[in-house]
Amino acid sequence: MMRDVAIIGIGITKFGELWDKSFRNLIAEAGSKALFDSGISGSELDALYVGSMSTGRFVGQEHVGALVADWSGFAHMHIPAMRVESACASGGLAVRQGYFSVASGMNDIVVVGGVEKMTDVVGDEATDTLATGLDQEWEAFFGATFPGLYAMIATRHMHDYGTTREQLAKVAVKNHANGALNPYAQFKRAIPLEKILCSPMTAYPLGMLDCSPVSDGAAAVVLCAADKAKDYTDKPVKIIGTGQASDTLSLHGRDNICTFESTVYAGKNAYEQAKLTPEDIDVAEVHDCFTIAEILAIEDLGFVKKGEGGKAIDKKITTLDGKIPINPSGGLKAKGHPVGATGVAQIAEIVMQLRGEAGERQVKDAKIGLTHNVGAVGASCVVHILEAI
């Protein structure tokens, strides 16, 4: 029988183009903040997990588990340290692995980090590296790009459900409005609708401002067996549901390209474990790597009916004071998207929300929150449901 797991500490770096910070600086900073926040000394740690998508290409460094353990000061403790990869869902997946290790009883306290240093490469290397999450032989080889594949989803979504270019842009407007309130965000500023609508086309119908940026950043959380959590913190947050699912690597391999079945299945598993329904969620951080991705996410997670994601944006039900506030952090769009860090940062944001420590972007009376982290174009997905205890 699995035991309950709680989050007892979180840490996050500023996201953005952090020219003076290296890969190891970033993850060590986030890890230290998480340990400090958790109240543990550090010697209690049983294991370390780190999610990162492509350290090999971004900084020419593999063997990242050991590196992070070393630079976080745990080399002399010789704790197991491992890196987890699932493209942009690497962070969320690392949290899930950490969760399993504690839930299983093998470990009592583990730290889970997520990190990406994306600005140490030149030219197209950052976008080329992100594209390694696509099917290299049957998508990328033929000229498909990351935004291009999401754009194809948008084209079909617009065709099937009447979703509009304006509705897509409004996702960015909302997330930038939220990001303006987040001290960690890469773009701490609101952007008006007109500016998003007239940003240069990246891949029709998506403009540059429909896309999340290239970012540096890291986040970390400390997980602890729930029955021991109160030994370290007054405000533990329990992981009450976790779900993960996969799908065809290529977008074209799927029967319905307007749905991420990986999201549907990961969400279903997490809801079942938590014995909750979408209506029970007070706040969610979803994977809005492109504006269309947030529309897909809120549909596939069951917050709105399939096809009504665009209208939901118009009705403002996903704003900070809406029925289901989505991406209070600013999301990947405004907060930034250091890919490996994103899934962990989502957890950190929801923990802040459930603790009531989210400052200006605090969602009122948030008790239960959800995180949704997608790998590439939906070939993998991790969903977590958290509850304040």
Binding site: G123, D124, T127, D128, A131, Q136, E137, W138, E139, A140, F141, F142, G143, A144, T145, P147, G148, L149, A151, M152, I153, A154, T155, R156, H159, P200, M201, T202, A203, Y204, P205, L206, M208, S250, L251, H252, G253, I257
Partner: protein
């Protein structure tokens, strides 16, 4: 991604030049690119996957116009790329050529054509394969 060693591209020539897929001898489902075994029949399909040449006719399911392209495609921007449902069933991602960008529409009938897909700079190998063009109506 044209920077890999040549064998990586060379071994896919049958698929990329001639749309060679395969068919499960158990449930008759057709796959492109060819699969080792049928995802639905699994054990029953072992040794029964038969090579099959797809005709290269299909319909655009969705599309985009790429304005920001990877290095090897920059000279072609803006270019349309689509997910095409082939008449035999499989769906593939490919560029749409030989038409105006505004002519690309969901539901349009297309057929395969042979084009240069990428080249490894000015000195590396050239990689050919399928793109699709509007069906030539007779």
């Amino acid at each position: 991604m044209a920077d890999g060693a040549v064998p990586r591209f060379w071994r896919e020539i049958p698929q990329r030049y001639n749309l060679i897929g395969n068919q499960c001898g158990s449930c008759m489902e057709i796959y492109f690119p060819p699969r080792e075994s049928c995802p639905y029949c699994r054990r029953k399909s072992m040794g029964k996957m038969k090579e099959l040449k797809l005709k290269g006719h299909g319909e655009v399911l969705t599309y985009t116009i790429i304005y920001t392209a990877p290095e090897h495609f920059e000279g072609q921007t803006p270019y349309p790329i689509a997910i095409i449902k082939l008449d035999e069933g499989p769906k593939i991602t490919a560029q749409i050529v030989d038409c105006e960008i505004d002519d690309v529409k969901i539901g349009m009938r297309v057929q395969s054509t042979f084009r240069k897909i990428q080249e490894d700079g000015y000195i590396g190998a050239i990689y050919y394969g399928y793109k699709f063009k509007p069906v030539e109506v007779k």
